[in-house]
Symmetry: D2
Subunit: 228 residues, 4 copies
């Protein structure tokens, strides 16, 4: 059975930060779990492939993969198999993150693989046009992330509020079901609040949490900014 | 301290076979460990990224990654970090497998990353010329694998014995230290014996073991063919 | 001023066939021009980059590029610049052909480059879902080409008529202006007639024309099958 | 018959600069030809694919392609065919430029294609290790270009003289025939003189010439710095 997708949602992308590798990935996931339990906001974590299983065993919050390849089981050395991340305990996956972009036909194929494997698909896009285009591929989540803002600490919801509202409007014209997240530059509770006010159902965040001195406190601030 | 590289060596590449995913990856690694303990031949296993940690915890034989990206810790969503596979318990890695080829500058960078992280580097090449070229990049292991033979059940040591002896000769001209393996099509004990007779120090094998009804028996046959 | 896009349209993709390289590219383009002048059907040709200028100088029919990179003028050795193909005499370009697929964000960027440079954009897609998704990116032409049929001589309009009608229906829901072509396997006049009957405005053809003994006769047969 | 490779050699890479596109590519090539005729230094030009034929027809100096794909004639839309650049009048090609890097197996395949087609192969590498490795693949020319210096105006021969002498030494150990060029940051006659003094047989230059107010004068300065 496909895992339930609940909102408002914060997905924490661990990227390949040392602060979120190995044992520290588990610690960070536990901090996220603690923040989630004290709030009405849902939090999911996206650790590296090598840490998926240990994190999924350590916490009860949803664990996402950072990528899946458009492959079937077989002769694909060094690739990421949907069945493998699923067995590791994953319930969802990022697709086409700006740091791991794939071809249009591959996006389509991976979303279909996710449906088959009952994995939540979170498709990342870089502007209103590609987001609307992506809406037609029916991912469960669309996360808009202008690449030029990633890692800057300038929130897309602040720097480009019109990009967010445009995206929401364009996506909703063709797709009423997809959860819409807003990524890039999220670092304060206010950024999250603004993102929701602009019509999204949550955020995709990375360095703002992972590289914070106290990720738990940052996530609590994010959650507290949301009225639910 | 860099892990010791011992020969004769059989590396079992799990690829993305379902037979070697998740719980079955651990079982297969245990079968390999059992075969190794009853023989003088060294056996290493290369599971998928998601299974590296569980396999490394379950067995005492060396665990290899199937790939590493030429990245440093940081903003690289969906990539494979040397530090992450190392912390998962890996002692070595395949590089440039014919199903996961990378650019020349990346091969050089990954081998250097491996030296920094004290990971054994096993560089796969596709013919005598690229193998000799690769020898100059000083990987710990060079594994020659003509892509057209992979998965065919026709051993390179039989189909192209001269490719193997040529490679050994060319590599040895510039590099006396690298362990030389011979991959592609290995499925019988005889294939392993011939590979060693041709001057290699072992084999890289995948489907011949992973898709066998009884991988343990196949590996025992491989080991028994070797006099050491 | 943007070149006018007229239908019914046959685009002949020269690929990298020797039969359509260099002097033979010019001859083939002239054969296409002759067929076009004797018919009400419009014909365009898509030679290799190296032949674009000579072909554009030799014939009056529209010349397309086979690909454009999502780059601006500058430090991009070995890439295809929109300004360069334009100056060579090109009026349109294929984008994302199944043999030259690119990332979603690149497709979006190249279509925008085409608008800036007043180049007709012909986006190739591989199934009804990606075609509908592509329609949102507002290319001038959408050409549906199931990769598994390319070069088989089995026309998509015959093998998968429902794929064609589905695509037309889905594309038209969001985009009334794009010209829709149908590619893959077109080799007889009948294939073209069926493609038009299924709601497309033309075809994208390669080996059926390029590798024919007499490309002119084949193109005349294509044109004669169309009532306009 | 394979074209003769003469030294000292300056190859001017036109990249995708607007200053070297279309008609301006021909003008720039003529300026290079004029400088060459007044000097003992050989000059070759590497325009964009779309300009190869017109440039080759306009000048008598050698014309290089910026890239070739490792393909045979056939179904490869949007790729660069050795036979096509050859027929356009090309006598040589850059391979693996830092802005167009390819896989190790592809480098090997393209060098072999060049031998078959009698095209001079100029393999670009990024450091002493990869250069020595590349020497084993037997390209006609090896051009060392540290990517971090490209386009900076800081000459590798000045910034990293030891990288150049190291490369020369390492390459010469295994390959006595390859012409060695030194690229990146060449902008003054002195840079060229130093490059030759360090043991190279010439330079690969781009912006220093292409973006100069008067490319002819810059090339003359380059040539005059050389005693031959």
């Amino acid at each position: 059975m496909k895992p339930k997708l609940q909102t408002p949602l914060i997905i924490v992308n661990f990227k390949t930060y040392l602060e979120a590798t190995g044992k520290r990935a588990v610690d960070l996931a536990k901090a996220a779990e603690r923040a989630r339990k004290e709030s009405c906001v849902y939090i999911a974590v996206a650790p590296q492939f090598t840490d998926l299983k240990a994190v999924a065993e350590a916490v009860d919050i949803p664990v996402y993969s950072q990528h899946i390849d458009s492959i079937k089981p077989g002769s694909s050395t060094g690739h990421i198999l949907a069945e493998a991340v699923k067995e590791a305990g994953v319930v969802g996956t990022l697709i086409n993150h700006s740091e791991r972009q794939i071809k249009l036909a591959e996006i389509d194929a991976v979303i279909k693989l996710c449906k088959e494997q009952e994995i939540i698909s979170c498709l990342c896009t870089n502007n209103p046009t590609t987001s609307a285009s992506a809406a037609y591929l029916c991912p469960d989540i669309i996360s808009i992330e202008p690449p030029e803002l990633i890692g800057t600490g300038v929130a897309v919801s602040k720097a480009q509020p019109e990009a967010v509202t445009n995206t929401v409007k364009k996506v909703r014209k063709v797709n009423n079901e997809a959860v819409i997240l807003c990524g890039a530059g999220i670092s304060h509770g206010e950024d999250v609040a603004v993102a929701l006010k602009l019509g999204t159902q949550g955020v995709l965040v990375a360095s703002g949490v992972v590289k914070a001195k106290d990720p738990y406190t940052v996530l609590r601030e994010f959650c507290d900014s949301v009225k639910c």
